[in-house]
Symmetry: C2
Amino acid sequence: MNSSRRTFLKTTAAATLGASLLPSLGFSSSADEKLRLGFIGVGLRGQNHLELALSRKDVDVVAICDVQQRMIDMSLGLVATAGKPKPQVILDGPNGYKKLLDRKDIDAVIIATPWEWHTVMCLDAMNAKKYVGCEVITGMTVEECWQLVNTSEKTGMPLMMLENVCYRRDVMAVMNMVRQNMFGELIHLQGGYQHDLREVKFNDGVSPYGGGVEFGEKGFSEAQWRTQHSVDRNGDLYPTHGIGPIAMMANINRGNRFTKLVSYSTKVRGLHEHIVKTGGENHPNAKVKFKLGDVVSTLIETSNQETILLQHDTNLPRPYSIGFRVQGTKGIWMDLNKSIYLEGQSKQAHRWDDAKEWLEKYDHPLWKKYGNDAAGAGHGGMDWFVLNAFIESAKRKIAPPQDVYDAVTWSAITPLSETSIKQNGASIEFPDFMRGKWQNRKNTFALDDTY
Amino acid sequence: MNSSRRTFLKTTAAATLGASLLPSLGFSSSADEKLRLGFIGVGLRGQNHLELALSRKDVDVVAICDVQQRMIDMSLGLVATAGKPKPQVILDGPNGYKKLLDRKDIDAVIIATPWEWHTVMCLDAMNAKKYVGCEVITGMTVEECWQLVNTSEKTGMPLMMLENVCYRRDVMAVMNMVRQNMFGELIHLQGGYQHDLREVKFNDGVSPYGGGVEFGEKGFSEAQWRTQHSVDRNGDLYPTHGIGPIAMMANINRGNRFTKLVSYSTKVRGLHEHIVKTGGENHPNAKVKFKLGDVVSTLIETSNQETILLQHDTNLPRPYSIGFRVQGTKGIWMDLNKSIYLEGQSKQAHRWDDAKEWLEKYDHPLWKKYGNDAAGAGHGGMDWFVLNAFIESAKRKIAPPQDVYDAVTWSAITPLSETSIKQNGASIEFPDFMRGKWQNRKNTFALDDTY
């Protein structure tokens, strides 16, 4: 694909600007080519993507990079199981990824490293002319978000944040219904990340989930790095799963944008109590002072005058729930009670319908086409779709359906919510990362069954 | 009861200050006396209370007052059906209620008039030394709230806002669980008023609900006055049903208080679209510009560092839901999906239990004792309990379980949310209506099965 680099840059830059090159137009001449893919970070999340990539005929995994032998070994096991050629292995400390980026024959990279490494790795990868797919949270500060935008615009290289919940089956069906005006004009939306992560944030240093109350150097997997953010920061630390799908439905960056937000945080109890209960009050981590409020609630306003509620709730015992709500002038969906109400169409006035029949009726074309391929992939199949969208976009050398503007717009909620809380509940203006270009861009996300 | 006026004032003033006279201590010597009750406002809501009062042996309804013959006639019908003596009828314009207050033999009054009349009527009633029960929304401005507090403190006369949802059976069971520490330390709470009121705000001038798109002078019942608030104001116009129960669980005004709030509002669509759809685009009301956002979301912070989310949503098609959530360090209840999760006690980790079995197990003593009496009363029986609490308190001449401070604290959310929206999402400091006395007051609301 190096021979087509100039075309690549040209079409990508145009597509990034939005209007002329729609993903759905496709570039079938290159869609049949094989994509040469490198992996930066093959921890447990990277391995999910790796396993899916290895199962595809249109991808050659040519290099993997990590900082831990155990993760490399697990990854090579996946390669062997898939019967694929062994990729180059780079195990050379935190900057080893630069060696992977030095390889001119790599078209695209998947980045699945701790959040704090995402920005620098994305910047380096775009500057190395790689098509970039990065795990969620791209930009931990507003300044980092701007760096990502500016570098993507300067290099012409796309950045897709791999937000998988945009591809959840019920979410895509509801998006389909939104586009067919079943809910009328959108008024209010909700999402969040309400997930008891206590056994993710703490483990025994061997198992990924629980079994102890270690984190940082003594922890394993996400506990090694993710937990420290709960020590240092207070805000909505993980907004993208909730906001991504809602943003797509509300045409954010496509005729609409976030204008301001405000966050309120509760007291800090859950993590400390978990440590004391599980590890005893004499465990050294019982002395750690956490900063992250147990529940952080954020209200966002859009330029089209919708409101959005986001809730971050990861330190307390509770069943998992994104907490979606999509409400318009004609009806409402809520995922907590798996219900839909549509005026004049639901069976009874003022009574919920079971969402099931509606979601089946409006199943998205992509799921109809690829549901079998996705079966068994991570997180109920949505991981298959997000990786597929990335690979198909990269093969076609066009802008990905979720682009750098989406990546930073969704990620910037974290630092803005931190600022709002620090400023005692002040409303914070949202940066316009598209510098006005959102006004005329059309929404082309998952318009049909292409990818 | 006039002979005991001095005792009344003394005990009430002490009880208002909180610590010494607990409602549960009772004053059985006077609990057997009959209460002489007057009704200011016998519209449809007043008639609910009237019917319940007429069914009691411990109440004499001695006077009723309204501004409409139709409401007086309906009320006299209820009196006749109950076989009770005909009360004095006062039908003498908007200030006719003062004649009712002039009667020295009336111990207590129930006020069930349009919101904008509540403050002046409560003030006049307290100044006339009546024990006051007023329908929800007591104080439309912060200034009115202070007038109510100051007048209650000056006169020693109690004001109870008749917030019935505090007595909903599931709410009381959850409060019972909160007090037994089943949810651990409270962290985050939610409530609201999510009720499609389009057929309350508009009717044909004859039926109370729907059948046309008239309001104001051409409307009937609530449409005559309530709808105008949607024309003139933008904020959480009806916070008390959601906040009352939560405030009681979180010991607001009893060791805890609201410290600040912020509100975001959506665009304004629902009411206009309803008029056009139902009455046609040429109906004169299709020209009315409404100010109330279709969904208003409010975040509140407490001095104990809980957060509370309130949602006001009355202009769109949707099933009714208060949207309660009570979440602590050990578990969570949500009413939307009728579910409870308690760490280590629920059947499966990370999975909801049906709330039913928990709510039955922790059924509140009041409901166990009076459930049969309440059966058939309005709003699932809770109307019986709130009126009972008012009457039992008035008979015992003690502070009501929901007092003037609760009334204004809950009602003040409306003007404060209006200010927040006007100030583009600024956080607004909450007034301390108890001037610090909340710090040492104990929660005595519904501690047992007394009332």
